[in-house]
Amino acid sequence: MSTRLHLRLREAPPLRVSLDGIVPEQAADAADVAHRALWLGNQTIELGELFDVSTQTLEGDAVPELVIEGDCRRIDGIGRGMNGGMLRIEGDAGDYLGAGMLAGVIVVSGSAGDLAACEMQGGRIDIARNLGDFAASTLPGSMDGMRGGTLVVRGNVGARCADRMRRGMLIIHGDAGDFLASRMVAGTVALAGRAGAHCGYGMRRGTLVFAGNTPAAPPTFVATHQDIVVFWTLLRRSLDYHGGRFAALPGRAPRRLVGDLAAGGKGEWLLPHTD
């Protein structure tokens, strides 16, 4: 049997707090979690001073679960380095959500701040609303962004999303800010809404699928004309699962652009709604 650890935020803290290291695998040890020291400015407090902590035993083969409830916009590092289990956030989350995550599932009913899923390596993150800047990108000073797993955003993402992304799948149902997939190394980004300026800037490899609006291609992206219907079918069937505009992609092979020619030109844009 597994345990569900429930953390209810009493009120939003006056300063930013990092919940780094609190993951579902620790759900069974509620007393230890309640006494965990957190930095609040230049002093430490116990986690139990900020959150009401309770546990619940789960029946059957359920995975360990961590539920965080409240206005957590100033709570950073939730699920950072998580390596299994289920993490549900009832509300908004702060920065670094799921950063470096290895496995498991994070579900957020609201929005999350900057640097969500940066350097994520596995698992799945599902955001019901919006993400800030640098989602699925690198930690400051690092060379590689998201490296695996799946990030699904039901709303919009900020600037520099998927910057230096290396592997994995990023699904954006809303719009993206400027510099989407800039310096992208590999992986797949599928966008249902509009992209901001400088999309694909410095893109080396990887795939960008525009399921909604077709953006104006920069001069460093050029069309190719080969038959890619086999690959497109494999990808389209995978995207279909995410619903929305991704469930209505045409079966015929999409128009394909390759670029950024200034960075090798092996990245691709797939434009299924243009002839």
């Binding site: 038959d227 690959f231 990808l235 691709e268």
Partner: protein, 313 residues
């Protein structure tokens, strides 16, 4: 050596069923799914891939088409063909898969190739073939599976990075003893047609039938196998031991490789049922099987047990 027994006669529709068994061996196998723009090109690729693959004795592997696949059965929604490849070791199978897919699928217009088995020990499928792309190849991970896209003159070749090897059974067999060539061929064709409806098996010889059944060993030291003289009509009066009755002038063998013991057994049952249904009047007098005394192969397919052991009909 055969262990044909004549203790309790068993006949079905006038055909005598020998009290013997087919002796089969452990092998390693994989299934590949080859798709193409249409059935014709999928068949071309599958036929080429499984060519010269009748026996591990000299071909490196035993391979054949398992069945055609409709578009809704394939990963990319195009017509396809499932092929099975068997070898004596995973290492040899990996070598054969790479060579055959590289020369016969990668080269064939519009084709793509996927693993048809999703568990077992992984071996390279398109993993090394990607280097044909000379740096232009593209890797894509889709739902946890890695594919390689290699630019080709017709567009691009798509191949799954790995396929998987499972333990399998090779060398199930059925011997058809008939009055003449016409009757033996017709019975063998009917048997193979029935066996082809069973999933998980192949009959790797030409048309599924082999006329040069072999025994272990030879008078020549360099040969590990030689003609099965006990079943050669030409040697009935000459060989030290014969398994043939007067009136038998042609014997055909169907060799069956399967992913599991149950698959081979089901195929043998289907084949025997089809031959028995045609009756002794069609020219088949006996059904038998080849074995080595039961000491070499761990899988024994007793004909009478497969048929249910009931007495004469």
């Amino acid at each position: 050596m055969s262990t044909t027994g004549q203790t309790t006669p068993m006949q079905r529709n006038g055909i005598h069923i020998d009290d013997t068994f087919a002796e089969a061996f452990p092998m390693k196998a994989t299934r590949l799914i080859i798709t193409a723009h249409n059935d014709t090109w999928a068949q071309h690729a599958a036929v080429a891939t499984t060519g010269f693959a009748t026996s591990v004795i000299a071909c490196g592997c035993e391979a054949a088409i398992e069945r055609p696949l409709s578009p809704d059965e394939t990963p990319d929604g195009r017509p396809g063909v499932a092929v099975l490849l068997f070898s004596m070791s995973g290492k040899e199978l990996a070598k054969q898969v790479e060579r055959r897919v590289g020369q016969c699928v990668l080269t064939c217009p519009t084709t793509a190739v996927y693993a048809g088995i999703k568990d077992g020990d992984p071996i390279a499928l398109a993993k090394n073939l990607r280097f044909f792309g000379d740096g232009w190849q593209i890797s894509k991970m889709i739902d946890g599976t890695r594919y390689w896209r290699v630019p080709t003159m017709d567009g691009e070749f798509v191949g799954e990075e790995t396929t998987f090897v499972v333990k399998a059974v090779g060398g199930g067999n059925l011997l058809i003893l008939a009055r003449d060539t016409e009757a033996a061929l017709a019975a063998a064709e009917a048997g193979v047609a029935a066996m082809r409806t069973v999933p998980g098996v192949i009959m790797p010889f030409p048309g599924g039938v082999v006329r040069s059944g072999s025994k272990v060993g030879s008078k020549y030291a360099s040969l590990s196998a030689s003609t099965n003289d006990a079943f050669c009509p030409a040697l009935t009066p000459l060989a030290r031991k014969t398994e043939l009755d007067p009136g038998v002038s042609c014997v055909m063998e169907i060799v069956i490789d399967g992913l599991t013991e149950a698959d081979v057994s089901a195929a043998m049952r289907a084949g025997m049922d089809a031959i028995i249904a045609r009756g002794a009047a069609a020219g088949v007098s006996r059904l038998s099987a080849g074995n080595y005394g039961g000491k070499l192969g761990p899988f024994h397919f007793h004909l009478r047990r497969i048929l249910g052991e009931e007495g004469a009909v």
